[in-house]
Amino acid sequence: MTEPLLRVDGLKTHFLTRAGTVKAVDGVDLRLDRGEILGLVGESGSGKSVTGQSILGLVDPPGRVVGGRVLFQGEDLVGAGEKRLRAIRGRRIAMIFQDPMMTLNPVLSIGTQMVEAVRAHEAVSRAEAWERSRRALARVGIASPDERLASYPHQFSGGMRQRVAIAIALLHSPDLIIADEPTTALDVTIQAQILFEVQKLCHETGTALIWVTHDLAVVSALADRVAVMYAGRVVETGTVAEIIGAPRHPYTRGLLESVPSRNRRGVPLRSIPGMTPSVLDLPEGCAFRPRCDRPTAACTTMPELAGERDDRAWRCWNPVAAEVRGDAA
């Protein structure tokens, strides 16, 4: 196997708080090839966002990456200095946040911000940077880009702002984009527009994408592969067809059955009992054990992420039988 674009090995990000050590990310392994779209799925508190931030070294104190490696084209980013990270951020790896106002400065025009972003990494003339910004806006489907470059973020609707944030992420044709719930706050029709652009761009430019989300429906439509996180660990990984069609981890299956679907109209949903555990106070062994419908004595020790292949694995002692779900309509 050739070296993947990104390999995350045993990543651990802990937050040292007065209440104790919060193991937000506790041994996450991921790999991503060029042009691939990975859906990183989990509920709140599962560590999916912190994983995305850790890859770029964006975790603020009291959080700290305390272990593991993030190999980006063979280079370990965990030990890298701030200067090196700054050279990579934006140019080689870009990030899109849920709230575009995290990316945009409210008091500068879009054009000023985009030109600055271009010239931060490349010595080009102002005119050329402007031209490139124009093209980036046009690429994400913004009409009359010249006019738009002169406007300020507050003059845009939520969907337009998110497009601008995506256009900024695209300025340097990065190798990897990490998108943290970028469409969660948007309406269905606007979300579809953004997903459409993103899908097209990854296809055209070969940019790899990590799409962090809680929304299984979006992931199933967009991604090539999926990693499901629970309490700071990846509990199952595989292709979309494998995860959605034949989940092996009881948590993944429970999540899928919790989504209301047309075939189960009016029937009570098979919900997962209990709630997501606090990462401050995790049970011994498998973190899902207290909510699982099939726990055994073995579950008091943490199972390894293992399975058929490196990229088709689950972290469970008693995996769900590999039946194909019939109701994935």
């Binding site: 459409f196 899908q199 429906a217 199933s220 919790s258 679907s261 189960r264 009016g266 997962i272």
Partner: protein, 335 residues
């Protein structure tokens, strides 16, 4: 439908207008055409809800669905139109009857943290209203609250706790218990499961359905999540820019939407599926309700728009038994 509907909306309208400032009032007096910038959030909505029915109300942000829900729940007064409770116009009821009717319609909000008083204990949050309204004597309030909590799946041992000591799903249960405490007939749920994680959301949806059985409740279930609405409601209404554009029994609507907007909305909603798909988005964005397009509000984005659509607004008409749609296409091509 045989009996009178439990709730009947007739041309219900809500306008929000901004007051003119001094300069504008002066300019207007001098004859300048100063617009009073009214936003018509809800325009002439007709809807009747039968007893025991679950009506889903779907739409994107700004379509007026929450405003409509608030008018039904009696939180916002309508600017025009009538709201009939069991066949009687609310405005014509005696104060005591109106009070009673208002109590019978309760609301469950989206964000329980914003709708629960952080300084009150659960016992007071849930127990205050039934005591004040004389449904339960103060001495028995605590037992009553405990029973209500049990009904929504909360341990009565939590009676003395404050809202911040609960998880999101539990807080939503408290919000539901507070609404149930005054023995309502109708619950207006405004995005009541939107802020919850998928696994918790399923628990709350199941709770709503169990309560419906146990207490024979009627719901107006407002959500932007099509999957949730499809799962829970008997009939679904789709709103666009303040108006209902399609209303039909849920299975029929989701199988064969009639209105182009309903079609587009259902196509765009991502579903859990093993197949990858290509997105083909609706053009453009939702117009501002400050300046709605003339004619059919959807015509600038509609793939089937014809000259008539920008000139004349289509009325909500019956296209089949129990099915209503507001589109000119139904007349040119037949229902």
């Amino acid at each position: 439908m045989t009996a009178a509907p439990i709730i009947e909306l007739d041309g219900l309208t809500k306008r929000f207008s901004r007051k003119l400032d001094v300069v504008e009032r002066f300019a207007r007096r001098l004859g300048a055409a100063v617009d009073d910038r009214a936003v018509q959030a809800v325009s002439g909505v007709d809807l009747s809800i039968a007893e025991g029915e679950v009506v889903g109300l779907v739409g994107e942000s700004g379509c007026g669905k929450s405003t409509l829900g608030r008018m039904v729940a009696g939180i916002l007064p309508p600017s025009a139109g009538t709201l009939r409770w069991r066949g009687r116009d609310l405005r014509e009821l005696s104060p005591a009857d109106r009070h009673h009717a208002n109590l019978k319609i309760q609301m469950v909000f989206q964000d329980p943290m914003a709708s629960l008083n952080p300084r009150l204990r659960v016992a007071d949050i849930v127990g205050e209203a039934p005591v004040v309204h004389g449904l339960v004597p103060r001495r028995q309030a605590e037992d009553y609250v405990a029973a209500t909590l049990r009904q929504v799946g909360l341990d009565p041992a939590y009676l003395r706790r404050y809202p911040h000591q609960f998880s999101g799903g539990q807080r939503q249960r408290i919000g539901i218990a507070r609404a149930l405490a005054v023995k309502p007939d109708v619950l207006v749920c405004d995005e009541s499961v939107a802020a919850l994680d998928v696994s918790i959301q399923a628990q709350i949806i199941n709770l709503f359905m169990r309560l419906r059985e146990e207490l024979s409740l009627t719901y107006l279930f407002i959500s932007h999540d099509l999957g949730v609405v499809e799962h829970i409601s008997d009939r679904t209404a789709i709103m666009y820019l303040g108006r209902i554009v399609e209303l039909a029994p849920t299975p029929e609507l989701f199988d064969k939407p009639n209105h182009p907007y309903a079609k587009a909305l259902l196509d765009e909603a991502p579903r859990v599926s093993v197949e990858k798909r290509r997105f083909a988005p609706i053009r453009g964005e939702i117009p501002s309700p400050l300046d709605p397009p003339a004619g059919c509000a959807f015509h600038p984005r509609c793939p089937h728009a014809m000259p008539r659509c920008s000139a004349e607004r289509p009325a909500l008409r019956a296209i089949a038994p129990r099915r209503w749609s507001a589109c000119h296409l139904n007349e040119t091509t037949g229902p």
